[in-house]
């Protein structure tokens, strides 16, 4: 006999933590991007996706921490008011 406590993961569909974001959100300008992927690697929530020289953020989960804008070596990401 077992108790039903072995859990299969769900996608967190019901819990869009982007709702916690209050101040700013990143805007990807798509002008000077060199495809270095520092934004993708640095995002603590893994919200940035894309390929080659076009990257975008998933606002369903982005917390607005600004690390991507801060780390972009060509300033192709800016933080704008929410």
């Amino acid at each position: 006999m077992f108790a039903k406590i072995i859990l299969i993961p769900a996608t967190g569909l019901n819990n869009k933590t982007g709702s916690w974001r209050v101040k700013k959100r990143p805007k990807f300008l798509h002008q000077n991007c060199t495809g270095c992927r520092q934004c993708y690697l640095s995002c603590p929530e893994g919200c940035i996706s894309g390929s080659k020289k076009e990257y975008n953020v998933d606002l369903d989960y982005c917390k607005g921490c600004g690390i991507c804008a801060n780390i972009c070596p060509v300033n192709d990401i800016i933080m704008e008011q929410e």
Binding site: M1, F2, K4, I5, L7
Partner: protein, 392 residues
């Protein structure tokens, strides 16, 4: 074919034939010889396993728990302080329903530090949801190890199983033993087929945080599993073992000369060998005495009450005590007797509790014969009054 070898070595070689994939342990007297032999077999290429050296028993238990969660057969071994250091991990393994198999080489618990045999270490963990088996001889220890994997890994069971052997007596003693041969072990014990495991391709969570609305059922589930599935499986596996290996395995308990007994000893472990001699000697003097030797301590075989209710006196002999109360085995026996008798109106036998052998103190045949003639309810055998008094 029998070999005259050390108990620990015999056990290690029997375990090696069961092909565990991961062995992790930390040395502690008197279990170390088991894992030394296993390490040696791994180093010589005779056992294809991952031998993980860790810095403590807590880590050793965690290592085998984690490995078991990935769906492989695991093994560890410990004693006394090491077992207690593993305590929270063993509760976790039971709660996560993982078939971790181990040997506990029973040794007294500090303080004061004592490396000799008693059973206090493992009985302290009797509440954890573990399957606890006790061997009387080295041969039985080997046989129970092979059976332990089969019992624990049953997909309806999935609980840790610990085979207990008396420290020094069975670990360092020598006996003519037949190591369960590889070909028969392969026939008896199929490869481990986990019903669930950690797998990146099919992710799942084992051992989550649960609130009050979930926890109670996990305990109920383990209780039902131990009292139903495990008891049945232990008996079944013992019968299969007896048939295939040609050597008697008793299942939950062994009866010795109980048929017409008016007095029955109840005990577990190697001391049963001495009790059998005492029973034989008393039988020579026409005394109607017998022995019930508990093999499965958890789940507790309350079936034995049917034998005990036919007697006038039950002598529970154990190498442990629940300080502030009574002997743990005595408590299990008495509560089972009371439940059966109060439901069916039987007359209860007198039940006496004799605590012996703590810290490895020798128990003599003459003392047990005195116990037979004695009438105390609870007593420490061989108590030395001269050691008591003020603290220096």
């Amino acid at each position: 074919m029998k070999e005259f070898i050390e108990g620990a070595v015999a056990i290690a070689r029997s375990v090696a034939n069961c092909k565990p994939a991961v062995v992790s342990a930390y040395p502690i007297t008197p279990q170390t010889h088991i894992v030394e032999e296993l390490a040696s077999l791994v180093a010589n290429g005779k056992l294809k396993a991952e031998f993980v050296n860790v810095e403590s028993e807590h880590s050793a238990a965690s290592c085998v728990l984690g490995a078991s969660a990935t769906g492989v057969r695991v093994y560890s071994s410990t004693s006394s302080q090491g077992l207690l250091l593993m305590a929270e991990v063993l509760f976790n393994a039971a709660g996560m329903r993982l078939p971790v198999v181990m040997c506990c080489v029973n040794r007294a618990v500090s303080a004061p530090i004592n490396i000799w045999n008693d059973q206090q270490d493992i009985v302290t963990l009797r509440d954890a949801g573990l399957i606890l088996l006790f061997a009387e001889t080295i041969q039985e220890a080997c046989d129970l190890h092979v059976q332990a994997f089969k019992i624990a890994e049953d997909p309806n069971i999935m609980l840790p199983c610990i085979v207990n052997i008396d420290g020094y007596i069975l670990s360092h003693g020598y006996e003519p033993v037949e190591i369960p041969p590889q070909d028969l072990v392969d026939k008896f014990l199929p490869p481990y087929n986990p019903p669930y495991k950690l797998d990146v391709n099919n992710p799942l969570t084992l051992g989550p945080l649960v609130g009050p609305e979930w926890y109670l059922e996990t305990r109920y589930a383990i209780q039902e599993t131990l009292n139903n599935d495990v008891k049945k499986k232990i008996v079944e596996v013992a019968e299969e073992f007896t048939k295939l290996f040609g050597r008697k395995s008793y299942g939950l308990f062994e009866e010795y000369k109980t048929e017409d007994a008016e007095t029955v000893f109840v005990t577990m472990g190697s001391i049963a060998g001495l009790v059998k001699e005492v029973v034989d000697e008393l039988r020579q003097q026409n005394q109607k005495v017998g022995l019930v030797r508990i093999i499965s301590y958890r789940p507790f075989p309350n079936e034995i009450v049917k034998i005990l209710l036919k007697t006038k006196r039950v002598i529970v002999l154990e190498k442990c005590i629940s300080l502030g109360s009574k002997g743990p085995l005595f408590e299990d026996v008495v509560s089972s007797l009371y439940i059966e008798a109060s439901n069916n109106g039987n007359k209860l036998p007198v039940v006496n509790n004799y605590i012996c052998g703590l810290g490895g103190r020798d128990v003599y045949k003459e003392e047990l014969i005195e116990v037979y003639k004695d009438k105390e309810t609870i007593k420490f055998i061989g108590l030395k009054k001269e050691n008591l008094g003020s603290f220096i």
